[in-house]
Symmetry: C2
Subunit: 395 residues, 2 copies
C-alpha cells in the first residue's frame, strides 16, 4: 500500500518553524516535499542551537526531516522562472513569507496558478492577512501573547509563555490541515485555491472553550497555575501535586472510583454520593488530605497503584522521561532516524497513525542544496543550463 499522500508533490518555500512544521507532517504522510533555500545561506533553522557532532540541528531535524532540498535564488528573475516551472508540476505550494511578499516577488498564488490551474497554495502569517495587522510579521511568542494564553499560563506576577514554542508549532500543524482540506476540495470539486492560517487564529482555536467562556460568561479567569483556570470553579480535583519524588497529575476523579481513590490514599471518602453527581461535586475540602496522602509514595509508585485500579493519573514527565518512554516508541511518537553518517538518532516522529496506509518518516533533513540537480533534471532542465546557473550563483 502506498502512503496516504503518495504522488503529492509540494514546493516548499518555508523557513524557521510554522511553515516547515506543516510540510514535515505532510512528508510523514508520504508527500514529496521539495524545500527551496537561498544558495549559500539556507533556512535559519539550520543554525538554531547546533549540537556538536551532529550534521543538522535538532530544530532543523524536527521541522525539515524527510524533505528534498534545493537551492534556488528566488529573488533573481532566472531563479523565479525555474521555480515557477517546478511549481507547475506540483500539487501544493507552501510558504510562510510576510503577507504580500510572495506576490511582490512574482511567486504568489496568481503566478503559480497561471501555470497550474489546480494548485493548492498554502500560507501561514502571524495575525491573518486581513484586518489592521494583516501585513505584519511576528514570531512564535507574538502569537502566544496575542492569543491570550500568556494571560493565564503560570502564576501571578508575570506573563508566562505556555512552556514551548506552541505558537509556531500549532500554526504549522493547522496549516497541514488546511493543505489537506484544500486537496480534498480539489479531488472532489476539481479546483485549486489559496488556503491560509495564522499564529493568532490558531491560538484562538486552541482556546475556543476558554475564550467563549469569557465572551459569554463575562469574567476573566485567574491564572491556571498547576491546573485549569476555568475548572477551578467546579471543585474538581484537577491539577498537579507533589509526591515523595516527582509530581503527578490527577484530573476528573469521581464516580464509582472515588471510594478506591480514597482507600489508596488512606483518606476518608465522606458520605456516599450518587456516582454521577460525585464526578463534578465540589471536592475542594478533600484537597489538603489528598496532598498529604500523595507525599507518602513516589510518583512512579502512585502511577502504578492508581493505574492498577484503572484510576486516571500521570506522572509529570520531563523530556528525559518522554524520550525513554516505551509508550512513545510503541506508537511511533518517538522514532529512530538515520543521519547521513549512519548514526541512529532518537527524534520525535508523527502524531498520525493510518491503519491502511503507512505513515513513515522519509529520512534526515536535506543538506543545503542536496537535491538541486536531481530536482532540476526531473523537471526537464538540462545539465548545461544547470551548470551555467550554478556559475551565476542562481542555484
Amino acid at each position: 500500500m502506498p502512503a496516504p499522500l503518495d504522488g503529492i508533490k509540494v514546493l516548499d518555500f518555508t523557513r524557521f518553524q510554522a511553515g516547515p512544521t506543516a510540510t514535515v507532517l505532510l512528508s510523514d504522510l508520504g508527500a514529496d516535499i521539495v524545500k527551496v533555500e537561498i544558495p549559500g545561506q539556507g533556512d535559519q533553522g539550520r543554525y538554531i542551537h547546533a549540537v556538536e557532532g551532529l550534521s543538522a540541528t535538532p530544530y532543523f531535524i524536527a521541522h525539515d526531516r524527510g524533505k528534498r532540498g534545493i537551492t534556488v535564488d528566488f529573488r533573481s528573475p532566472q531563479g523565479k522562472e525555474i521555480l515557477l516551472k517546478i511549481g507547475a508540476g506540483c500539487d501544493v505550494i507552501v510558504e510562510n513569507f510576510r503577507p504580500g511578499y510572495a506576490d511582490k516577488i512574482g511567486l504568489g498564488y496568481e503566478a503559480f496558478r497561471a501555470r497550474n490551474e489546480v494548485i493548492v497554495y498554502a500560507a501561514v502569517s502571524a495575525y491573518g492577512e486581513d484586518g489592521p495587522l494583516g501585513n505584519l510579521t511576528g514570531f512564535d511568542i507574538h502569537g502566544q501573547a496575542m492569543g491570550g494564553i500568556m494571560s493565564v499560563a503560570g502564576d501571578d506576577g508575570a506573563s508566562y509563555t505556555a512552556g514551548a514554542a506552541i505558537g509556531d508549532q500549532l500554526a504549522g500543524m493547522t496549516l497541514a490541515s488546511a493543505v489537506l482540506g484544500g486537496l480534498v476540495a480539489r479531488e472532489r470539486q476539481g479546483h485549486g485555491q489559496k488556503v491560509t492560517v495564522s499564529l493568532y487564529g490558531c491560538q484562538l482555536a486552541l482556546q475556543s472553550w476558554e475564550i467563549n467562556q469569557y465572551a459569554l460568561g463575562g469574567s476573566l479567569p485567574p491564572k491556571a497555575k498547576t491546573g485549569h483556570p476555568q475548572l477551578h470553579k467546579t471543585g474538581m480535583i484537577w491539577g498537579s501535586f507533589p509526591t515523595k519524588e516527582g509530581d503527578v497529575v490527577l484530573g476528573g476523579v469521581g464516580g464509582a472510583r472515588w471510594q478506591i481513590f480514597c482507600e489508596l490514599l488512606g483518606i476518608d471518602p465522606g458520605p456516599d454520593v450518587d456516582p454521577r453527581a460525585s464526578f463534578i461535586r465540589d471536592k475542594s475540602a478533600f484537597i489538603p488530605a489528598i496532598r498529604k496522602g500523595l507525599l507518602k509514595r513516589t510518583a512512579d509508585e502512585w502511577v502504578r497503584l492508581f493505574r492498577d485500579q484503572d484510576l486516571m493519573i500521570s506522572k509529570v514527565n520531563t523530556y528525559a522521561d518522554v524520550v525513554d518512554d516505551p509508550q512513545a516508541w510503541a506508537n511511533g511518537y518517538m522514532i529512530e532516524l538515520e543521519d547521513p553518517n549512519g548514526r541512529k538518532l532518537p527524534v520525535v516522529g508523527s502524531p498520525f497513525r493510518f491503519y491502511a496506509n503507512p505513515v513513515k518518516p522519509q529520512g534526515p533533513p536535506p543538506e543545503l542544496g542536496q537535491h538541486t540537480e536531481e530536482v532540476l533534471i526531473e523537471c526537464g532542465f538540462g545539465w548545461e543550463e544547470i551548470a551555467s546557473w550554478r556559475d551565476q550563483g542562481i542555484i
Copy 2:
C-alpha cells in the same frame, strides 16, 4: 461555490472535548456532522460551566456548534442497528471512546466497514492504542503531563499546565487533519481505513524541536518562565516584559532594526555590528536597560510606536482584549453566532481561510436530540418505527 467538504457526511460519537473539536473544525469546512448522544443524558460537555440565560454552555458551543444532533442509545441492539445503517451512508465516523470500547459494543471500524467498504474511521485516545498504556483513558491534563510541557511551563517550584486545555484541543485539531488525510487517500486511492491520534502523541508533535533538543543535545531545559526554555541560551531578547501598564512581548529583535529599537527605548545600542550577526548575538547585557526603558510607556503605546517602525511586538492580551480585537473579527477568528432565541453570541470561529470555498460556521450546537427524526427519515426509516423506538427509549 460549495464548501470544501460539501457532501461529506460524518457520524460523530464524540463527547467532552478532543473528539468534538475535530468535528467542529470539519463542520466549519462544510461537512454534515451528525452527533450521536444517549437519550435523556447527552454529552457531558452540555453541562460544563453553564452560563445563566444561555441555552448552551460556552464549552458546548465551542466544540459542537454547527452539528446536527440525534439521540440513539448505542448500547441497545436496536440502537446499534440504527447507527450502523446511518453510518453506511456516511463518509466518516469519529469517536473518542476508550480504546477497544467501540469494538466491544459492535460499533468499531470493522462493523462500519462491513456496511461501507470506504469508510474513514477516526479515533482519538489518551496515549495511543499500542504500547503498555494502550487501553487507558486520560483527560486533557494527563496528556499535558505525559508530553513534557508541564516540566517546562511556568516557574520553578511546581508543575504548571500550559494555561488552557491544550491537551484535548490540540488532539482534536490534529484528529481533523487525520480525517482529511484519510479522505485524500480515499479520493485518490479508493480505500477507507481507520486513522488515529492521541493526546500524548500530539503533545510530542507540538514539542518536536524541544524534545529533539534534549534527545540529541542531552541537557534538560530550565523552566520557560516568561520566554522559551531553550532560546535562553541564544541571548536573544525573547520574552514578556512589564510596561507602565500591561505587559508586552519582544522576540527576535536585531538586524537592521536594532538601532531604531534602541532609539525608541532611549538606550545605547552599543558598537555597530553586522545586521545578520546582530540578530542572534548575545544581548543579555542590554536586558536591564530594556526593562527600564519599557516602564516609561504603556503596552498600547509601545505597540503603536514599535509597529510604526515595523518592529515585532505584541501586547500580552487578556481574553477581553482578544474578544474586542478588530483583527480577530476581520479574519473570522471571532464570529457572531445566532442562538435559537435569535440572540447574537460572540464566539471563536474557524482558524482556516479558504479563498475559493467558503469556510462558514453552520450555526449553534444542537439541542439534545433535535435532529433525530430528520436524520432517521433521511436514512429511510419510517415514522412508525421511529415512534416505537421513542416509546422504548431507544432514541
